[in-house]
Structures are given as structure tokens and as C-alpha cells.
């Protein structure tokens, strides 16, 4: 929901980044206000996943220019954990398997770390179990997943649901969901999309990074951005996604130059 008076959560200007010396982001501009849902679309290699990782602080990427402010704070100077504690959440495209660490143990540790940061009460294992089970129900997840190692042996769809479960527990101000729809069958997509929609409020914001328009049938974006060669080259409303679906990405090259960040 667009509210021009809402607080700006994220403001990215001219962001440039390299990995192994290769420049991937070549001047990204993006502004996200509270209450908004953004979709960043683009072909493979356009830099959308890199943008997600750079914003979350992945150590393999080096920022070479530009700025990113999160609620007015310099995001790029923060460690990944400090970004998470400030309220940024990255839903991974490929959630990492962590053998030997029980999902419940991991989720509770993360939850309590953020609770502590926010000056709220930490939960003991029993209390947390109740909370986690309630959230899992919303995502139609089997409670057995709490006892298994983090993401180990999970199917693609289960991993993505586990990401949304973490988002539901950690209650971020800004969630960047990187290809959360990939690898989901239609039922799982509906459940995941339902979770994302339910978690969206007028105080938080969501950025969906996606290849396909499919997810956007369920989570309706306020803004759609198209990334190409490390920049956001065009921005429009939800109809832009439908146009991309119908016409592909090629026509954008012939379109007028980038209009940059959302107004």
C-alpha cells in the first residue's frame, strides 16, 4: 500500500558492488517506504540476487560505490548480524543446510537474539515451541521440522517455507525475499504467498526478487522494478509485471532510459 507520507525504510543510491573483482551492481537506485511491496524482476545475471546479498551484508561482495540507508542509518557499514538486528531480513534463494543444528535450536537462538535487541522477553524452549508451532500452522508446515537439522534434507519447497517461518518469527521491518517462489509447486506457492501477504503491514515492507510474474498473482506489488546489467532500468506498477510476462524483457531495451527509484 502506497502512502507518500510513510517513513522511508530503505534508500539505495548509486550502489555499486563487485564479486571477485567483477562489477555486478553498476549504480542501483531504490527507495522503499513502510507499507510497500516491491518486486524486482529481471533475467538471470541482471544483478538482482547480488543486490539482495549486498544489502544483507554477504562478505563475498565488495561495495565499490554509492550508499544504502536503512531508516536513515548507514547500512553498508554494519555487520550482517547488525543489519538483521536493525530489522532487515533476507529470504535466501538457496537456504543453507546446517547439519547438526536443530531447526528449533537455531530458530530460538535467532528469535531470542532479536528479542533481546528489542528489549523484549526471551522465550524458554517450551514457550518458543508453542510460538513456533503456531507460526508453522499458518505455513502448513509439519512440526517435525523443528527437530530436524536446519534445512538438511528439506525439499526445495520446505526450505522456502522455512525461510518464511523465520521471517514470521523475526518480524523484520524490511524483508527481501530472493526468488522465494522458485522451486515451489502451485500449492506451496499459494501457502508461501499467503504467508507473505499476512505478514505485510503498514509498518513494514517487502521486496520480492523474482524471475517470474507467477508469485505476483498472489502477492500484489505496489511497484515493479526491472533490473538489467546491474541497474534498475525501469519502474512501474503491477501492470509492468504482466507486460513482462506477455512480452519478455527485450522490449525494455528499446524503451526510454531508466527512471530510477520509485517516486
Amino acid at each position: 500500500m502506497i502512502n507518500p507520507n510513510a517513513k522511508t525504510l530503505l534508500e539505495v543510491r548509486g550502489l555499486r558492488a563487485t564479486v571477485n573483482g567483477v562489477e555486478i551492481l553498476k549504480g542501483v537506485d531504490l527507495a522503499v517506504r513502510a507499507g510497500e511491496i516491491h518486486a524486482i524482476m529481471g533475467l538471470n545475471g541482471s544483478g538482482k540476487s547480488t543486490l539482495s546479498k549486498v544489502l544483507a551484508g554477504h562478505p563475498a561482495y565488495e561495495v565499490t560505490g554509492g550508499s544504502a540507508l536503512f531508516e536513515g542509518r548507514d547500512l553498508l557499514g554494519l555487520e550482517p548480524e547488525a543489519r538483521a538486528r536493525a530489522g532487515l531480513f533476507l529470504g535466501f534463494q538457496y537456504p543453507v543446510e546446517v547439519p547438526g543444528v536443530a531447526n528449533s535450536q537455531f530458530l530460538r537462538l535467532a528469535y531470542n537474539t532479536l528479542q533481546k535487541e528489542r528489549g523484549a522477553d526471551e522465550l524458554d524452549p517450551l514457550e518458543f515451541d508453542d510460538l513456533a508451532r503456531a507460526k508453522m500452522k499458518l505455513l502448513d508446515m509439519n512440526p517435525d521440522f523443528l527437530e530436524r537439522s536446519v534445512n538438511e534434507g528439506f525439499s526445495g519447497g520446505e526450505k522456502k517455507r522455512n525461510e518464511i517461518l523465520q521471517m514470521a518469527l523475526l518480524d523484520p521491518k524490511l524483508a527481501i525475499l530472493d526468488e522465494t517462489d522458485s522451486g515451489l509447486d502451485i500449492d506451496a506457492l499459494r501457502i508461501v504467498a499467503g504467508g507473505i501477504t499476512r505478514l505485510a503491514t503498514c509498518d513494514n515492507a517487502t521486496v520480492l526478487v523474482t524471475h517470474y510474474q507467477r508469485l505476483l498473482n498472489y502477492v500484489v506489488p505496489d511497484y515493479v522494478h526491472v533490473m538489467q546489467a546491474g541497474r534498475i532500468v525501469t519502474t512501474g506498477g503491477k501492470e509492468l509485471a504482466l507486460e513482462l510476462e506477455a512480452r519478455g524483457y527485450d522490449w525494455i531495451n528499446a524503451a526510454p532510459p531508466a527512471i530510477g527509484a520509485a517516486a
Binding site: 554477504h58 555487520e79 538483521a84 543453507v96 546446517v98 547439519p99 547438526g100 543444528v101 537455531f106 537474539t113
Partner: protein, 431 residues
């Protein structure tokens, strides 16, 4: 021979001659035989292939002798080391049996102290003591045998199954050379779980030179948990020799956390058809610690199975060594063996030497082995940090998880929990 090493061994033998003779003539003969071997052998050096990475020079610079005075402990002193599940407990303080701290020992079928075996019941021990763990080429086994006095002798009669574990607790309290000894004879189709546990109540340098012998008869099942939590300045050198008869099963989980220098030799011989052995291990060390595990699993008969997962976690300037030999003798067809050595380095100064060794002399066998040495996975670290965990918390959690895979295999819940806590406490970040 190196005079320093000779003098060192001679000094270790000080007092041996004054040991009171045992009423068991065979025991006196065994000790004398062992004293002779100590005289003929020397302390291994890094020029010996088996000791390439483990330099004993620091040990030979510390003159140690058997304890001159026996420490007396209160039950409260060892309380935190007790296992509530244990059906019986034998406690040895600096190698000396402490009957007042031991329980369940009156039951002849469970356990004896070597000093108190009724003469009529010595037969199963006489034929095996010092025979399974031959000391001909092993100066530390010879030293242990030369000083053989107290020891945990356990005979499980055929078909008797013990559900609850037997706890053998070896407590170090002073700067001395001590010689713990265990012998377990599991009768046909019997079943027992034994926890061999080395702990310390004092800091400082001492030597634990331990020998354990285990004979598992036809279709018997032995679970052997070994925990080494010696003091930071201790030297721990141990040998465990296991012989498996037809269809026997032996599962061992060994955890090494303590000691400045530790060496554990595990030798398993599958002397009967269709025997199974699992030998898992974890060494978790930091600072200047060295932990060396040498294992040898000898498939001498057909249809044997062996599984081994050995893990080392080394931080600081620690040095972990693993040498795992799998032998498949001619005729040991249909052997099924898998061995994995997984090693985690927590710092740039830590070091691991891992060497799997296969010697296969039969053609119809299945043998898999592999070794990896690595650091914590950077993607896993980032994933945890992206959820708000500090880098230190993320490192601890991943390190803990790496070690927990072995700890989880321990079949005694209270020990498992205690070791999980110990691993959590010990997994500090050491740049």
C-alpha cells in the same frame, strides 16, 4: 640407545621392584616379563613412523613416579562426574582402587578389582591380561603391565545382558605416573555398556599410561564409551585392544578433550566371522594441545563389518593427528568397511594430520574411506549471521554441531548432555 630416554625409563621404573608380590604367581611372572621389555625398549621418537607427528620429548623431560601417597577423596569431590544411569561404578584414584567410592562391586558377575579376584575366578583374566594388548613392542603397555596392581576386571557371563552401564572412573589428583588398567571379558551372547572415563581434580603435569583389553565372545555386544578429560598439563597415553569372536559386535565412541598431549591407540581384531565394529571418535582441542588417535581395524575373517567416523576440531595452535588403518586379510572376503576422517580447523595456526590407510589382501570386499580438512563453511556462517547471530555465536554453534554428531552416538544420556555442555564451553573462537 639415547641415554636420556634410558634414564627416563629407569626413573619411571623406580619403585617397581618394591611392589609387593601378588598371591597370583602368573601375575608376578607377567610383571617381570613386562619389566624386561621396558628394559629392552625405548621411548619412541618422531623418527618412528607411528610417532611421526607426536613428539614425546616434553614428557621425557618431566621426571614422574608412581604416587608416593594415596589421595583420599570425599564423595562430593567426584559427584559431578558420576553417571546416574550406572549400575555399578569402580573408582580409581591415581590408579589405585577406591572401594569406598565404588558401588555395585560385590556382584561378582559385574566387576572386580584385580587385587580382590577370588582365586577360583581368575581363569578368564589370566589367559587375556597382557595378551590382548601385547607389550612386546609397546613400551607404554609394558610399563603399565610392569606396575599392574589394581585394575577393573569385568567378566560378563554368557547370555547375561546389562541394560545399565558400568562406569569406570579414573581420577587424577597429583603429579605422578599412573597406570590404569581394564579388562573386559564379555561371554557369548552377553551385552554390556562400559564407560571408561578419565578426569582430573588437579592441574599440573602427570602421566596417565592406560591399557584396556576387551574380549567379545560369539554374538556378544559391547558398547564402549571412552572419555578423556585430563588436566591441561597432563600426558595421556593409552592403548585399547579388542578381540571380536564370531558375530560379535563392538561399538566404541571415544572423546578426547583434555591433556597437553594425548595418544590413543585402538586395535580391533575381528578374529571370528561376521563380526561388526564401529569406532567413532572426536578430538576437540585448542591452545597448545596435541591429540593423536591411531586406530587399526583388522578384518581377519570373512563377512566382517566396520564403520569409523573420526572427527577432530583444532583451535589455537593445537595439533590433531589421526591415523586409521583398515586391514583386510587374505580370506576375509565380503568385508564391508567404511571409514571417514573429518577435520575442522578453527584457526590459521591449528594443524591436522589425517591419514587413512587401507591394506587389502582380499578381492571381494567393499571398502570406502575419505578424509577432509576444512574450516567452518562461510555460507553457513553468513546464513546464521543474517538471522542476527553474532559471528562468535554462529561459529560456536557450527563448531558445536560438528562435534555433536559424535557425542550424539554415546548411549548414556547424562554423559551425552554433560559432554555437549563441555563442547559448547570449549568451542571458543581462537583467531
Amino acid at each position: 640407545m639415547d641415554t636420556a630416554a634410558r634414564n627416563y625409563l629407569d626413573s619411571l621404573l623406580t619403585g617397581q621392584a618394591q611392589m609387593p608380590a601378588s598371591p597370583l604367581a602368573w601375575l608376578n611372572r607377567l610383571r617381570a616379563e613386562a619389566v624386561d621389555r621396558v628394559g629392552a625398549l625405548t621411548v619412541p621418537t618422531t623418527r618412528d613412523e607411528e610417532w611421526r607427528f607426536t613428539d614425546l620429548a616434553p614428557l621425557t623431560r618431566i621426571p614422574l613416579q608412581p604416587p608416593r601417597q594415596h589421595s583420599r577423596l570425599r564423595p562430593a569431590d567426584i559427584e559431578r562426574h558420576l553417571l546416574p544411569e550406572a549400575a555399578a561404578r569402580l573408582v580409581f584414584i591415581d590408579g589405585v582402587y577406591a572401594p569406598y567410592l565404588s558401588t555395585g562391586v560385590g556382584d561378582a558377575v559385574i566387576a572386580h578389582n584385580l587385587g580382590s579376584v577370588p582365586a577360583a575366578q581368575t581363569a578368564p583374566f589370566e589367559s587375556r591380561l597382557g595378551r590382548l594388548a601385547a607389550f612386546h613392542d609397546d613400551v607404554f603397555a609394558a610399563l603399565n603391565t610392569a606396575f599392574l596392581h589394581d585394575g577393573a576386571l569385568v567378566a560378563v557371563p554368557p547370555a547375561v545382558e546389562f541394560e545399565r552401564p558400568l562406569h569406570l572412573l579414573f581420577v587424577a589428583t597429583q603429579a605422578a605416573a599412573v597406570y590404569p588398567r581394564c579388562l573386559l571379558v564379555a561371554g557369548a551372547r552377553s551385552r554390556i555398556t562400559v564407560v571408561e572415563d578419565y578426569v582430573a581434580l588437579a592441574e599440573g603435569s602427570y602421566l596417565t599410561d592406560a591399557v584396556t583389553e576387551i574380549a567379545v565372545a560369539d554374538e556378544a555386544h559391547v558398547e564402549h564409551v571412552r572419555v578423556q578429560r585430563e588436566a591441561a598439563g597432563a600426558f595421556h597415553i593409552a592403548r585399547c585392544a579388542v578381540s571380536l569372536a564370531r558375530g560379535a559386535r563392538y561399538r566404541s565412541t571415544s572423546v578426547a578433550l583434555g591433556a597437553r598431549l594425548s595418544r590413543y591407540n585402538l586395535d580391533v581384531t575381528q578374529g571370528g566371522e561376521g563380526a561388526e565394529c564401529t569406532a567413532d571418535g572426536l578430538a576437540l582441542i585448542g591452545g597448545e594441545q596435541l591429540a593423536d588417535t591411531h586406530s587399526r581395524i583388522d578384518h581377519a575373517q570373512p563377512r566382517g563389518v566396520s564403520r569409523q567416523l573420526h572427527k577432530c576440531i583444532a583451535g589455537g595452535a593445537a595439533h590433531a593427528v589421526f591415523n586409521g588403518k583398515i586391514m583386510v586379510r587374505p580370506g576375509a572376503q565380503l568385508t564391508d568397511s567404511a571409514q571417514a576422517s573429518r577435520n575442522l580447523l578453527l584457526s590459521a595456526r591449528a594443524r591436522v594430520d589425517a591419514k587413512p590407510q587401507l591394506e587389502i589382501f582380499a578381492d571381494d570386499v567393499k571398502c570406502a574411506h575419505g578424509a577432509t580438512v576444512g574450516q567452518l563453511d562461510s555460507e553457513e556462517l553468513f546464513y546464521l549471521r543474517s538471522r542476527g547471530l553474532s559471528e562468535e555465536a554462529a561459529r560456536k554453534l557450527l563448531t558445536y554441531a560438528f562435534g555433536a554428531e559424535i557425542i550424539e552416538r554415546i548411549p548414556v544420556a547424562s554423559l551425552r548432555q554433560r559432554l555437549e555442555q563441555a563442547v559448547l564451553a570449549q568451542t571458543t573462537v581462537q583467531p
